[in-house]
Symmetry: C2
Subunit: 463 residues, 2 copies
């Protein structure tokens, strides 16, 4: 599998200078100096200044990886030529195969047969292939140079959704190691990729969007995922859960979605964490990549909004999280500094007094040995920071909080902030982008906390 | 109740020039020319250039509404003076009453007794009072001049959360009619406000955040809410659903949360729609204020992402929504214009062909008489519009879609868009701010659609 991510020589079949699908991929690969790349296109002499070959068979050296940008009706012939050339890795970006009609399905099956007979591995068709943040190699039309390198690997099924996730993740500065889109999974599937990521040093957390598991792959899925989750958290989002969804999935990537209850039971056996929606999966990925697993059971809440604090409590209790009982000295000290009208139980509801005593309270809570995880809810009214209000600069105010948090790296900390988007943006900048996840919705924040505890318990059980 | 929203003369008790709690309220009310306002403060001669009175009793004319900005230990005496002055409406913004301790609770009870004996109505304490978008009158520290006037009335319990909602709603350009925060509800509660809003011509949709219903008010709650929901949709978010949440609620506003199952049964009887979180409530409020109720059962999906389309289908089916069966002519026409590799069933998954045939498909779907509601999922990859990509301007592209949608005002239309935040922002501008709600999460969009159908069915049943 490694040649998919670290090829030394690449053939771009169907490469063109025209501004159409595949143009940006061609341009980005041809411009690399660390990879020898060969455009293949019988209709042109050169592509972006590089000599084009009529066929892969004419390329004068070994080719590690072939990328298909050609129409589906030319794919079978090209696959045969790749086999003759001895190419062992192929990524087919084109669509028009098992997801569209009978002819496409037969074509895909014929290509799969060639791959099997010649020991070739194929990603796709109907996908945007791979991205490796370690060397910046990508077959997808995404802004690699704007992406943040980090520990999240993502496996998606299809192109547009995979791209949307990358766009989102890029804007939210989530560090990424590798991205793979599987498309119709004619050969490589999520199990193969998981086996590769298991030992990938760059990858610490794995997220998957799946539409189904291929027939007969159930046992391998369980075995592989079980092994991986014992080392790295694995997050799964699956569609095709209902009849209508399954029918949509079939039209989309020709995948059989299978029974959702069965799938759910399979996932539970493996220790993977299932998310209910893409936002939830990305929240989980954020807290798992940015924060340590909690080391004590108690969850503490500090809030300046009683309403948001109450909602967070509700959701935490619904998810069977344990709200912390503070040590007596923590309670005493908090009482001595907080105004009498605040509530220093858990949640610590200090209302507008957050501006005065918030930092001291924060430090006391983080020092409490019963606190494994802290949820800080800071909902600053617009009047505090807008120009027609007090005009307070939120950034230095938040930074003081962050500096305190950074002194307790063993505590799991999540910030939640609902209200004016400018306030949320300031919080994202100060907290989220520097390692302390900010989740707007208190309910989502509570669910992310539950996810951390769930994975910690699983790890304790299996190790 | 009307004098709370449309007072002709107001006493601001505890008014001060100091930049502290209440300053912006004082400034905003004193600067109005349509309301005669009187600062009351024995320690100063003038407040912002206006003569201050030592006590409300010294004000030389009738006072419609008194606003308390004073510390809780001065409140009882002031209440007595308001009674003597014959003031019938009081808003107490101060905290330090039943939510904090025994003394505070006794003080609140004594004030309630004075109010009862003198036929006074009191909002609060521990709240930010009222906002009326019709005349711009507000007792809250919020940016009324930046808010959009519209049909959503909101009832919240407390200050910071109420303010956070207003900040959010303002940024998202949701049109507001009235906002009321109830605080500890020593007199006026959500039932009183609902009775007022029932006949308020400005209000079309009502949203509430509640922590509990006061003892003995259950029957009045059911009767009033039932009557209102037959005319206007009512959305409820309640915290204190679990033991931990209930305990937090008690510390917050001294409210008894009650059993959540009982509350849920009560809500269901009334036809009000319960939301699970604040984001959900605001999504529901957006679709109900911006879109008509669906006139046919079928929900259609047009998507350029098969994955997001499948997830939307899953959620719609889970919520028992009916996916549309297109009329045969719609299917035929779609097939004749869409590329063969697209899927023109429902969801209509046209992938990247959205750029070519999206508008024609949109028009065909909206013309189909079986379609009551359309969910358009447009997830444009960053490469299409970023500067290092194709640099397409999304605004005119989206505007063409919007113009088609505006030709079918009888159809319920919701847009969903996940990915690059700049793309979402462009969509918000073109669609959401001009009346077609854009909801980022497909699952949330599906839930909002279900909310519209639920209310439509309820209305059909009771009318």
């Amino acid at each position: 599998m490694d040649k998919f991510f670290n090829p030394e020589s690449v053939a771009i079949i169907g490469a063109s200078e025209k501004l159409r699908f595949g143009y940006f991929v061609t341009k980005s690969i041809l411009s690399r100096t660390d990879i020898r790349s060969y455009p293949v296109n019988p209709n042109v002499e050169t592509v972006l200044g590089v000599t084009a070959y009529r066929s892969v068979t004419e390329i004068p050296e070994t080719v590690d990886l072939a990328i298909f940008l050609i129409p589906s009706d030319a794919a079978l012939q090209t696959m045969q030529e790749c086999a003759e050339k001895g190419i062992k890795h192929v990524i087919i970006l084109s669509s028009g195969f098992s997801e569209s009609d009978q002819i496409g399905e037969e074509r895909q099956d014929a290509m799969a047969a060639i791959a099997r007979e010649n020991g070739m591995r194929v990603i796709g068709p109907n996908c945007v292939g791979v991205t490796n943040m370690e060397n910046g190699f990508t077959t997808a039309e995404i802004p690699v140079n704007r992406m943040t390198r980090g520990s999240l690997a993502f496996i998606a099924q299809s192109g547009i959704f995979g791209t949307a996730i990358i766009d989102w993740v890029t804007a939210h500065k989530i560090g990424v190691s590798k991205v793979v889109t599987l498309g119709n999974k004619m050969d490589v599937d999520e199990i193969d990729v998981m086996q590769y990521l298991e030992n990938d040093k760059e990858t610490g957390v794995i997220g998957l969007y799946l539409e189904g598991i291929r027939e007969g792959r159930g046992p391998a899925f369980i075995e592989t995922f079980k092994r991986v989750t014992a080392r790295k958290p694995v997050l799964i989002l699956k569609s095709g859960r209902t009849e209508a969804g399954a029918s949509a999935v079939m039209s989309h990537t020709g995948t059989l979605a299978g029974d959702d209850l069965v799938f759910d039971a399979v996932v539970r056996q493996t220790g993977a964490l299932r998310a209910d929606g893409i936002e939830e999966l990305l929240d989980y990925a954020r807290v798992l990549t940015k924060q340590p697993l909690p080391q004590a059971d108690g969850v503490a809440i500090i809030t300046n909004s009683g309403s948001l604090g109450s909602m967070a409590c509700d959701e935490l209790q619904r998810l069977e999280m344990r709200l912390v009982q503070f040590e007596p000295r923590t309670l005493e000290k908090m009482k001595s500094i907080a105004p009498s009208w605040t509530s220093v139980k858990n949640p610590v509801d200090i209302g507008p007094a957050m501006l005065m005593v918030g930092k001291e309270i924060l430090e006391l809570v983080l020092q409490d040995k019963n606190v494994g995880c802290l949820l800080l809810i800071a909902s600053v009214p617009g009047i505090i920071f807008t120009e027609d209000g007090l005009g307070l600069d939120l950034i230095p105010f938040y930074e003081e909080y962050r500096e305190i948090m950074k002194r307790y790296p063993e505590k799991t900390i999540i910030v939640s902030s609902f209200g004016d988007p400018d306030m949320v943006a300031a919080g994202m900048k100060v907290f989220d982008y520097t390692g302390i996840p900010l989740i707007t919705s208190v309910q989502s924040a509570a669910r992310a906390i539950a996810c951390l505890y769930r994975y910690r318990r699983y790890r304790e059980r299996v190790q």
